[in-house]
Amino acid sequence: MESGNLSWILISAAMVLFMTPGLALFYGGMDSRRNVLNMLMMNFYCVLIVPILWVVIGYSLAQVPFENDFLGSLDAFMLGDVARAGDGTTLATIAFLGMFAAITPALISGAVADRMKFSAWAIFVPIWVLVAYVPIFKWVYGGWLGQRGSLDFAGGTAIHVNAGIAALAAVLLLGKRRGEVSPPHSMPLVMIGTGILWFGWFGFNAGSALAANGIAAQAFMNTFLAGAAGGLLWVFVEWIRDGHPTNLGAASGIVAGLVAITPAAGYVSGAAPIAIGAIAGVVCCYAVRLKRKFGYDDALDVVGVHFVGGIVGSLLIGFFANPEFFEGEFEKGLFYGGDTGLLIEQALANGVAIVWSFIITTAILLALKYTIGIRVDAETEHNGLDLALHRETAYHD
């Protein structure tokens, strides 16, 4: 492999690693002062346990051999011979994918904020990665869903829809938080997190080309435009609807746009990323209100942003996919003369991911609920999880 490609994979991997702390700050800033450390810890924990899990068996189960329909094997247990590969491409790719595996469960943490036992989280994460993330990842990349023709460039279905629906399952089981909900304890922290997330997302999406080539450049441009369009539209909706443009709206819209472009980044071009980002910005801006309507307590809107944004982006591929611009072989979207085939595949892939992830998440959490318990007691919830679970307080004078 050319050194330029390897260089791009390596830096992209580092950028995706950086996203988990970024996500932690994004969520942590939105949380209250007495729960922010628990939030940070749930996120950092993912990036401690998942890398190990990934290289020991995750990668092997998810990708080796690539042809398998449903699951890999244990052939690359502890990476097997892979590390021996001289030019570093495989190793770099495994690291890159490991970053994705780490951030996916971290996404869920925003939903379960303020009430989940950290011990339950600590057990949930590795099991969920193995039983929900690894199979769906396999099916989408190389497995039966991918073979049928569904597209997911950088993890719309495998990551955002997957984590988003798991978040919904989790909050349905956990129940609502007690007492009044606090507004974000530190908006500057949220905005730092947003900046890091957007920066890292260039690695996430453009790095998924696994080379520094035209597809990477297009994915990069798309990541730029969709983030901007998502943020812009969310802010405009707020401004018109609520009378005020907000920072949290800008941040949320950027993330919504980025989520939506993730599956599409390497398949669309021209004005499509603007359209996808803008649609996600508007749709998610309304979707975060669903929780009030349906009464589930998705604390930091993982469902409204990641699940809905992921679905939006994934389905829009069915309209905007434009193989002309890319070397890859894939179906045309409806707007470029394609038939509904691609759209149906997109719907199918997401449908499968939703069902599997929802069931698995529910099963794991039910098992935990009736063993060690998944929810902290009322007093801990009132006083804040930071002190009770971690014996730490975020700020001291």
Partner: protein, 112 residues
């Protein structure tokens, strides 16, 4: 005029405020304080070093009120702020000689 000062648990503040409002008390002033008492503090652990935190977060509620309302106010506070656990806090009452509304210069009961 009397000044009622209540030290309560922070998460009870909303209940307290709502109860006082319901009891017809229209103005209060609140501040964050730290309490030291029977409840004791807690330890926090940083890199295995324990820090004894002696002070517990509390909220102070101050209410200037006409003398005839004092008992109502205290009862309301007792109801709204009590959890029955150590550390629920105190209420104390002091005499106020004058009360003035800054906006109008009104004094006494009119100033409330």
């Amino acid at each position: 005029m009397k000044l009622i000062t209540a030290i309560v648990k922070p998460f009870k503040l909303d209940d307290v405020k709502n109860a006082l409002k319901a009891a017809g008390i229209t103005g209060i002033t609140v501040s964050e304080v730290k309490g030291f008492g029977r409840q004791g503090g807690h330890t926090e652990t940083y890199r295995g070093s324990e820090y004894q935190i002696d002070f517990v977060p509390k909220v102070k509620v101050e209410i200037v009120i006409s003398p005839d309302m004092v008992d109502t106010a205290i009862d309301t506070l007792l109801q709204a702020a009590a959890t029955g656990k150590i550390g629920d806090g105190k209420i104390w009452v002091t005499e106020v000689e004058t009360i003035v509304r800054i906006r109008t210069g009104e004094r006494g009961a009119d100033a409330l």
